[in-house]
Point group: C2
Chain length 290, copies 2
């Protein structure tokens, strides 16, 4: 078996099945034909062209765009054409620090193939022999996505209007009851990216990664019910499960592989896939450069 | 000023100015028209097609290819058509762990736009306030490439037939007089890649990175004359010089930016270029996927 297959499983996007989604002439995402047909019912908000789906050029301000899109999404959710909305707003933009083009409900980001951001933290300890142990979440059986699968220690989607670090602190408290002093020691260490076709559209995700060196007496405890348990695993066991099984939620192997590469647990001489892993974990969003 | 400009400066490759270089039907590099004209003098070794330059298909073994290419390069170097050879062999392959297609003198790798590998190590210490200090090399005035420029602590091209780690240990001794016990604590932490047009052709480089936590009483000392001095610099000073100046050898900013991202010295909330830096440092070789 292979580590790379997890990256392949998260990078299933084939642009042939999509039309670019343009806002004010800038490609910011990708729309499926079935979604385009739904949007065609709202010609005051979306303009369909042969080669693209455009937010209507008459909507020139972020506020006007957000309001018009919210109306469309509410109507589509009400008649069951799309999944129920989650009342959490995502910012539509081409880079996190770029200008917000509009905001929309988190549920709808994949419908437009918009870039979405999240945070993940790996909690780690050293063994006396120098090896690593990692805290691994075990997702609850009632989760809509990946029930009962293994998970990172802390993770969550990135709402508009919050910094990555503040989002991590919030999720650390909610998901693991970690005290704020420990959570604030989290070290940012890069990003991973992937573009994955999902039931509802294209997930073009960037996960901002943090490492947290946790003390021996730290034990995560779920407060929001997202996890049924947490397991402290040797890195070697994590890698064996990644290599040979599918125990983890689809995107978590990428988080853990990046950790193992950055900390020398997977090395360049002994890992034939090393180079492909490093470049595969850090792809650009497919709308980039248009 | 910007950090990204250093990545842009190392990614100047424009395929419009090149023809793919094929070995046994596989694209492994890129050749300039001027180089193709030189190679056209050797039709038993190279076959020029309209859209590609091919190693002659009659050369089917790595040994036969290496011998034929060596003869061509010796003749071209002798008449001054290419730079003098260095008598250090590089392996032509599409990934480090893939099969060797042939070997050729290191000088000629850019002529064919072949992938080339190297190692770099960053030597670091923590300050009492938690900040980082980095050992920075200062290149000798007589270096052919980047004389007097600032450098990483340890770096070197990757010869065929050596592991990355063994090459690092060799370079650590030669370049810094580091004792082997300390050098062996080096932690591998990923790769950076770039594709840069140079005077002689395309440098498609992958640098395998290591971090070395050095003790307070370590002081690097050049044994091979590559460096005139070493400076222990606060990470903040390194970043200020990267942002505002061009004090470093062209590819060293990429090594140091990757270090600063992995260690949280550059963070995702405060660095507008963060995402572009992470993806920009980890591009695939332009022949990949052909």
């Amino acid at each position: 078996m292979s580590y790379l297959r997890h990256i392949a499983a998260c990078n299933t996007f084939d642009p042939a099945g999509y039309r670019p989604f343009l806002v004010d002439g800038t490609a910011v995402g990708w729309v499926r034909p079935a979604t385009a047909r739904l949007l065609a019912r709202f010609p005051a908000t979306f303009r369909l062209e042969d080669q693209a789906v455009c937010l209507h050029p008459g909507l020139t301000s972020p506020t006007a765009r957000s309001a018009a899109v919210a109306d469309v999404l509410a109507e589509l959710a009400a008649d069951g054409s799309i999944e129920p909305l989650r009342d959490e707003l995502y910012a539509a933009k081409t880079t996190w620090h770029g200008p917000e083009l509009f905001r929309l409900d988190r549920t709808a980001a994949p419908l437009f193939g918009l870039r979405a951001w999240g945070v993940h933290a790996t909690g780690w300890l050293r063994r006396p022999d120098g090896g690593y142990r990692l805290w691994i979440g075990h997702r609850a059986p009632n989760k809509r996505v990946a029930p009962n699968k293994l998970d990172s220690l802390i993770g969550g989607g990135q709402p508009a209007g919050l910094t990555f670090r503040d989002n991590l602190l919030k999720e650390a408290a909610e998901e693991t009851s970690m005290d704020a002093a420990l959570a604030r020691t989290a070290v940012s260490c890069g990003t991973i990216t992937y573009a994955m076709e999902s039931e509802t559209g294209l997930k073009a995700d960037t996960l901002v990664l943090f490492d947290i060196a946790v003390p021996e007496d730290f034990t995560p405890r779920s407060t929001d019910g997202e996890h049924q348990a947490f397991h402290l695993m040797d890195a070697e066991e994590v890698l064996a499960r990644l290599r040979d099984g599918d125990d983890f939620k689809f995107n978590i192997p990428l988080v853990l592989l990046d950790f193992c590469i950055r900390h020398g647990i997977l090395g360049p001489d002994d890992t034939p896939e090393y180079e492909a892993l490093v470049t595969g974990l850090h792809r650009e969003h497919p709308a980039a450069g248009r």
